[in-house]
């Protein structure tokens, strides 16, 4: 139900969720399924409003991905960035959890529920098929993206255990005096200025404002006397990561019939892609994926014509898109500025620079593929240098800024996504990822949201 702030009875709720994107919405949905009520506090309006986006979403910063880039991928309206995402899903694999305090096994059930929430069959989670040496065929699930705000009916109006207030910004969390929990959420709205919601120790607060939003509201709690909540070890906002996307960074000539498996019908919609197998991944050190996009033979390219004619089987030609892992680096970070937005939250300053390893990883995986294909005489690869070294961009994935870890000195949240030391404060979203793998994060965001909801519901 969409309600006015004045009509809130805070005692009704088991959880306060800040942000209504896929993370917040999934937490609310799973809590509801478990009989719990949540209040979602959303800074945006029911429909996307450019003036709200500009007033609240403005970010400055430098690097391969600049402040404007991050602004563009943080949607300030009901449903959050679900309005924009492309619907691609892939799970993180066991090898991607090496630096996490949880395992892939801890998420298996949650991934299945996540598929349900994101409206796709779960067969793709564990599906893979063989490919040439060093690789496996692991397509992306490509169903239509779920848009939480514009679907009819939507969860905000149709689920009686989900309540939402709109155009209300959570601008500060007030910690208890002993800093073992949060006692109030201070909010701001253009309509009524500043008000407060008192929170008891039994009520959970879940930050689900995106990789930028979660950092912003935590920095908002910084005072002259005390560090920001979650920043006691100077980890807040650090290790900002994305997924480098290298579009059309290569071409491949190979016989599709012989090499590319047919995806079984139970998989659903698929985008064909290969990934390094576990041994190759360990050898290389960073994860990656190569998507094959059908393309016609370039008859105007004598080299491509030559290469195609050399192969013993009739070949198909493809453009290649690489989507890969970015190594975390503490100097890639989000910082608060002295400037405040209309709600009183600090404006954000970002730095996000791809490392040399991040860029070379794309070249490396193409070279590995080329070697494997040549060794079985089945294909050749072309590398497009500038698409790797001059045109890398991101996927709209904001990761790592409130990272999960066992040690409070080097992380912001623990294995249950609770902010270290604060009993009733949690974080949902890709800001908790300590590493990102190559996979689009939405599926994992929703799986972690489900896990968090179950934890919050179970601990009552």
């Amino acid at each position: 139900m969409i309600i006015d702030f004045n009509d809130i009875n805070p005692n009704r709720f088991d959880a306060f969720i800040i942000g209504s994107g896929p993370a917040g919405s999934a937490v609310a949905m799973e809590l509801s399924r478990l009989g719990r009520r949540s209040l979602i506090i959303e800074a945006g309006a029911e429909n996307w409003d450019i003036s709200i986006q500009q007033e609240l979403g403005h970010i400055v910063g430098t690097g391969h991905l600049d402040g404007e880039y991050f602004s563009n991928h943080w949607v300030r309206s009901m449903g959050g960035t679900s309005a924009l995402w492309g619907g691609w899903c892939a799970p993180l694999m066991a090898r991607n959890f090496a630096n996490w305090p949880i395992t892939r096994g801890d998420l298996d059930d949650c991934y299945i529920r996540a598929c349900d929430i994101l409206h796709r069959p779960s067969a793709f989670l564990d599906y893979s098929a063989s490919f040439v040496d060093g690789f496996k065929f692991k397509p992306f699930s490509g169903e239509e993206p779920r848009r939480f705000a514009t679907e009819d009916p939507n969860i905000y109006t149709s689920d009686e255990r989900i309540t939402i207030v709109l155009e209300v910004s959570a601008r500060r969390l007030r910690p208890r005096h002993d800093r073992t929990g949060i006692e109030a959420i201070e909010v701001w709205s253009k309509k009524f200025g500043v008000k407060e919601i008192n929170v008891s120790g039994n009520q959970a607060i879940i930050l689900a404002g995106g990789g930028m939003g979660n950092v912003q509201v935590l920095f908002g709690s910084e005072t002259t006397d005390a560090k920001a909540i979650g920043n006691e070890s100077d980890q807040l906002g650090r290790n900002l990561m994305e997924h480098p996307h290298f579009y059309n960074c290569g071409r491949a000539v190979l016989p599709a019939e012989k090499l590319l498996p047919k995806v079984p019908p139970r998989f659903g919609a698929a985008y064909p892609a290969i990934i390094p197998d576990d041994n190759k991944h360990d050898e290389i050190g960073l994860d990656s994926s190569i998507e094959f996009v059908d393309s016609k033979l370039r008859v105007d390219d004598p080299l491509e014509v030559f290469v195609a004619s050399q192969m013993q089987y009739k070949v198909d030609t493809f453009d290649l898109n690489v989507r890969s892992e970015m190594a975390p680096s503490p100097s890639n970070r989000v910082l608060p500025m002295r400037d405040r937005d209309p709600s009183g939250l600090p404006r954000l300053n970002t730095r996000c620079v791809f490392g040399s390893d991040d860029l070379q990883n794309a070249e490396r995986i193409l070279m590995e593929l080329s070697r494997s294909l040549a060794s079985v005489g089945l294909g050749r690869i072309k590398i497009v240098n500038d698409a790797i070294y001059r045109s890398a961009t991101g996927g709209g994935h904001i990761l790592g800024t409130t990272r999960m870890g066992a040690d409070p000195r080097s992380s912001v949240v623990d294995r249950n996504c609770r902010v270290h030391g604060y009993g009733n404060l949690f974080v949902a979203g890709s800001s908790v990822f300590p590493t990102g793998g190559y996979a689009n994060p939405t599926l994992t965001i929703v799986a972690l949201a489900v896990k968090l909801a179950r934890y919050v519901a179970g601990s009552k």
Partner: protein
């Protein structure tokens, strides 16, 4: 507010900043295996390396590619190096080699002559183009090593 002891401060400076809990992700062996011009290891005969216009080719590939402008195997046509035959076209298309062009003409009874442009040709659109022709061509233009032409009858 927690009191920070000197030890906690030092510890957090040393550990907090570098995130020492985490194994740093990095590209391994990048010094040895990196470099488009370096072999990745394994059989040299097969390992492709970065070469012409971004394509990763094996040494055999490159050999064949270089020869493609020179090698042909045909008894039916009289082939002359460095000659262009203008006009009389019944077909124009890109081929992978001189030999392919020669073969095309041989197998096409309407083709009485052909011209092939080598990779060296200054105009990109003409490189490795093959023109099949009737007898009604213009006069042969000689001394241009970018071209190879042939006739089914005597010149």
């Amino acid at each position: 507010m927690k009191l920070l002891t000197r030890r906690t401060v030092l510890l957090s400076l040393a550990v907090g900043f570098s995130g020492a809990q985490f194994t740093r992700l990095s590209l391994k062996g990048s010094d040895e295996t990196q470099g488009a011009t370096l072999e990745l290891g394994g059989s040299n005969a097969v390992s492709p390396t970065y070469g012409i216009e971004g394509w990763l080719l094996t040494p055999d590939d490159r050999d064949t590619y270089d020869k493609a402008d020179y090698y042909f195997d045909n008894k039916l046509l009289v082939v002359k190096n460095g000659v262009d035959l203008p006009g009389g076209d019944i077909f124009a298309g890109r081929v992978a080699s001189l030999n392919e062009c020669v073969t095309k003409c041989e197998k096409n009874s309407f083709c009485k002559a052909f011209t092939y442009a080598r990779l060296s040709h200054p105009s990109a659109q003409k490189r490795r183009m093959c023109w099949l022709k009737t007898d009604q061509t213009g006069a042969a233009v000689e001394n241009d090593l970018d071209y190879v032409s042939g006739r089914k009858r005597k010149w």
